[in-house]
Amino acid sequence: MKLALTVCENRISPLFDCARMLLIVDIVDRTSTGRHFEVLHYESPFSRAAKLSDLGVKVLICGAVSDQFANIIETYGITIIPFIAGAVDEVLDAYLTVGLSDSKFRMPGC
């Protein structure tokens, strides 16, 4: 399974709509087996969703996301875990082990 996280200075990007970098993580049996970065350009909701789909992403972890983007991404069958904040490695570890329910990973007000 492929997981994507939006990254900005080693933290989850504040807003998916204009995030510039994706960390793609290959996951087998809740273990990371490989990772690489992908650059996102200024793109329309359709092309961003198509890019995620082309990369084979099944789950997207991001910060805030507007419904223009979220609705289209979800129609591609990609699950979004939005409004996540924190250091990327900590978020990834938590996702693979205990999940992201801890309030420290939630953006304020979400």
């Binding site: 504040p14 807003l15 329309s44 092309s47 419904d67 953006m107 007000g109």
Partner: protein, 461 residues
């Protein structure tokens, strides 16, 4: 003279003021952690103060400029304030909220920089009003401020609501298909098919099978039934484009279909009922074709129920800035670009051209510019060679200035008429100060009637 002693405002009053204003205000330290967050900031973002304090500002504010073009970061780096930068934030319901942001340094009494302060204003209402205002000038994918187009926009809902045949005339590239599509989308037939066929592109026999379809065995190689465009458009709308190019024989066939609302597929023995709204379009003046006896008079009267004449772009050059903006915004959306607009010189060049290809030509010019100018403003060197050649002629600058002036005169005259020559209302309508309007009226030599809007109002009383 008695000197008044200046009343010193106690410190806590500043907090009261901050809490009572409608602009959101927050401050950050050097680590970008939020150190204060006023009531309006809570209201606009939907984030309670206690959740915001101590958090990284971009995880609270989450605007589209946080990651790449943070105004507060620029202020902290350059030491200068930025005022009214337009952006949007996304709240916890995934809704975009347009805001105008201003930033400045936060200093103590000694001038030591403590961090930064950001104020932001909710522009949702302004944005909503702006959209409503723009909607006055937009129908479907067509935008225009010119009075001739506005007349069409005004009657379009009634035209669409009726099921009458519509004749659209206009030069190539004036938007006949866009107008037909707008009629379809405004009509009760929206949601059903909208089919377009260019009648001038097919010989008679092929056009007949394209429009009405054929039965298996109707001719060699017709191995199975094929529905025609009329059958495919069932319940919807069909646009018969370039109808002026139809042969005399086919005009008779089409007349029968329009009269009886039935058609007969090739090789069929029975007629089929057609529940299709017909829109016809032509780049030729059909009444002239009738006079020259190349177009049947009875067919002309049958299709000339509601006629809409689209003016060429050279007759509504005041639309060029709005169209350019429209195309730039559409191409930015489609291509994921961030072109911000066009330079004054580039726009002047566009205004000095006559556009034999009309709006389609203008759209192609902007697309050409997008290839050469990926972001920032479109400069004149990004425009096609034939336009830039205009710059080289010795009289060109005079020509461009004249073009700019004539458009300016047109825009001001239209606004004056719209506001019944009330100059204050006209200035407001144009978004300029009244003294600027007076100056332009004088410089451009615009002649006004003796009565202005105010005098008319007084007389009416």
């Amino acid at each position: 003279m008695k000197k008044h002693k200046l009343y010193q405002i106690p410190d806590h009053v500043t907090d009261v003021i901050l809490e009572s204003i409608s602009d959101g205000v927050f401050t950050v330290d050097h680590e970008w952690r939020i150190t204060s967050f006023n009531h309006a900031a809570e209201e606009i973002t939907g984030i309670p103060r206690d959740e915001a304090l101590g958090k990284h500002c971009r995880e609270v504010f989450r605007s589209n400029m946080c990651e790449t073009d943070c105004a507060l970061r620029r202020t902290m780096n350059e030491g200068k304030p930025f005022v009214d930068t337009s952006t949007y934030i996304v709240n916890s319901e995934k809704r975009r909220i347009p805001v105008a942001v201003s930033t400045s340094l936060l200093k103590d009494e000694d001038g030591t920089v403590l961090g930064g302060v950001e104020t932001f204003r909710d522009m949702s209402l302004v944005e909503e009003l702006r959209k409503k205002l723009d909607a006055r000038y937009q129908v479907g994918d067509m935008v225009s401020r010119s009075p001739s187009m506005h007349r069409i926009f005004t009657i379009l809902p009634q035209v669409a609501e009726s099921d009458s045949t519509v004749l659209i005339q206009g030069e190539t590239g004036t938007g006949k298909e866009l107008l037909s599509r707008a009629i379809h989308e405004l009509s009760p037939r929206r949601g059903k098919p909208f089919i377009t066929i260019n009648c001038g592109a097919f010989p008679d026999t092929l056009l007949e099978s394209e429009l009405f379809g054929y039965k298996a065995g109707a001719f060699t190689n017709a191995t199975k039934d094929k529905p025609g465009h009329f059958a495919v458009a069932e319940g919807g709308t069909i646009l018969l484009d370039e109808i002026g190019d139809l042969s005399a024989a086919f005009q008779v066939r089409l007349l029968r279909v329009l009269q009886d609302r039935t058609f007969q597929p090739l090789g069929a023995t029975k007629s089929v009922k057609a529940d299709v709204r017909v829109i016809v379009a032509s780049n030729k003046d059909l009444s002239k074709l009738v006079k020259s006896e190349t177009f049947r008079q009875d067919l002309f009267y049958r299709i000339n129920v509601v006629r809409l004449d689209l003016p060429p772009l050279r007759d509504r050059k005041e639309d060029i800035p709005m169209l350019v903006k429209h195309f730039i915004s559409r191409l930015n959306r489609l291509r994921g670009r961030s072109v911000t607009g066009i330079s004054q010189k580039g726009l002047a060049l566009l205004l000095s051209h006559d556009y034999p290809g009309n709006i389609r030509e203008l759209e192609n010019i902007i697309e050409h510019a997008f290839v050469l100018c990926p972001d920032g403003q479109i400069e004149s060197h990004c425009l096609p060679d034939n336009l830039r050649a205009l710059l080289r002629g010795s009289t060109t600058h005079a020509k461009i200035d004249a073009a700019l002036q004539s458009v300016e005169v047109q825009v001001i005259m239209d606004a004056l008429k719209r506001n019944k020559y009330n100059r204050l209302a006209t200035a407001r309508d144009l978004g300029i100060h009244k003294s600027t309007l007076f100056r332009k009226i004088k410089i451009l030599g615009i002649e006004l009637p003796n009565l202005d809007g105010r005098t008319q109002q007084k007389r009416a009383r």
